[in-house]
Symmetry: C2
Subunit: 229 residues, 2 copies
DNA sequence: TTTGTCTTACATCTTTGGATTGATAAAATA
DNA sequence: TATTTTATCAATCCAAAGATGTAAGACAAA
């Protein structure tokens, strides 16, 4: 049962009152969307989102204050299916990356043509995620750079490769927050044996205690776990 | 000093010989690129990449065998500035995500129009990263889903918010692998004071020892550090 | 067969870590 | 002003962690 005729409802959040008016006018005149509410405050925007449950939110994200990003996060946490489109004056790759990471469905620059904004709204209203080509390119450069850095670190020399398979098991249990007794119980071996393994692990990883061993493991490719308390 | 006139040189890797011929013909007839070599084997492709040092590589990535992805990784590791474009029969989000993560500069489906491929080559040759709109959308859905899973855990209730600023400092030093003495020295306070803080941290985070505290911190938004040994 | 590595295990000893209680002064808050 | 929170420090006490040396059985490689 989809509603075909109802106009999609939009909430505008922008701390610049002038720009807010401009966008509202643009949407009212040149698009088929209903502006149900506007506000210049991020926290007020969250309240209005709860109250009106719009289909879309046009959210201003300013660089210096990170209110905008936090607001996205909180709106996503509400889980009301409200789709957030970022409007920003900055084509900063980090900002784009973080906004998309938090669940924004689109990111459009204020300097772009108004048709671009309307197009983004149409795409997002149709359930898609949309980034202008130029920003997609920026996003991917940032994305690939961040992964490349991860790889080069572990490339130097990974002391983890010197561990025997049993030592890996022990280290894995250490990274879950187990003490000697816990590890002994889980591997069905004596506590003294565990101590032997752990000491060997310290030698091989060149660390002084279990916390450093765990940190080394996590920083060098060991998978993360939930803590077993 | 850029070379304007030289035609960009392309290496083709595709285990389907028929498709390989087709792509070669397409590029030769309809584009301004030079096909310098072709091969049906991924490992041979890496050798040819070293030998010819092409500007671009058109790489076939098949779903079942992950040779293609491994090949991308190895070519990126060579760090010769060779740009890899993925050609695939599958618009699988995970496959797209992994290919881009490993450094592919573009990802085009075999079912797409040949003009699309030429366009991708032009964009990549110009130094950009290019994904067709439809695939960008898929990529972002996958991207956001993977981050959403991470967040739901920490969204419940973050015990870190109960920490005082001093306790945060102490915890931060714990996540760098410091012991009591190390922390005391760095904060210019006595070791017993550090013990008090650490004990309070344990209470607030509901953990039993420093390793669990560190793991909780890392799993709930504390930034990662290098180990200070 | 010998050599070496891995896994298991124990004893001993020292150091570090963690729990608890109590106390003081400054600062924030009601 | 009174109250609470925060940051500082100390003394104990016990448990846990870590260092070191030794050694036996399993197993694989030379």
């Amino acid at each position: 049962m989809r509603e075909f005729k109802r106009k999609a409802r939009v909430l505008l959040i922008d701390d610049n009152a002038d720009h807010l008016r401009g966008v509202k006018e643009l949407i009212t005149l040149e698009s088929s969307y209903d502006v149900v509410a506007t506000t210049t405050s991020a926290s007020m925007g969250i309240n209005l989102a709860k109250k009106y449950r719009p289909d879309l939110i046009l959210m201003d994200v300013n660089m210096p204050e990170k209110d905008g990003l936090q607001a996205i996060q909180e709106i996503e946490k509400l889980d009301l299916g409200i789709r957030v489109i970022c409007l920003s004056g900055y084509d900063d790759a980090d900002l784009i990356f973080r906004a998309m990471k938090l669940g924004a469905k689109s990111y459009v620059l204020k300097t772009m043509a108004s048709a671009q904004l309307i197009y983004a709204m149409d795409e997002v209203a149709a359930g898609k995620i949309y980034l202008p080509t130029a920003l997609t390119s920026r996003f991917f450069e940032y994305f690939q750079r961040s992964f490349k850095e991860e790889q080069t670190v572990s490339a130097e020399e990974n002391l983890l490769t010197y561990l025997t398979s049993r030592e890996e098991e022990v280290l894995d249990l250490l990274t879950q927050g187990n003490n000697y007794k816990g590890i002994a119980g889980k591997l069905f071996i004596s506590e003294t044996t565990v101590k032997t393994h752990v000491n060997n692990i310290f030698q091989k990883l060149q660390v002084n205690d279990r916390t450093q061993a765990v940190l080394y493991a996590l920083n060098n490719g060991f998978k993360r776990h939930k803590i077993a308390v």
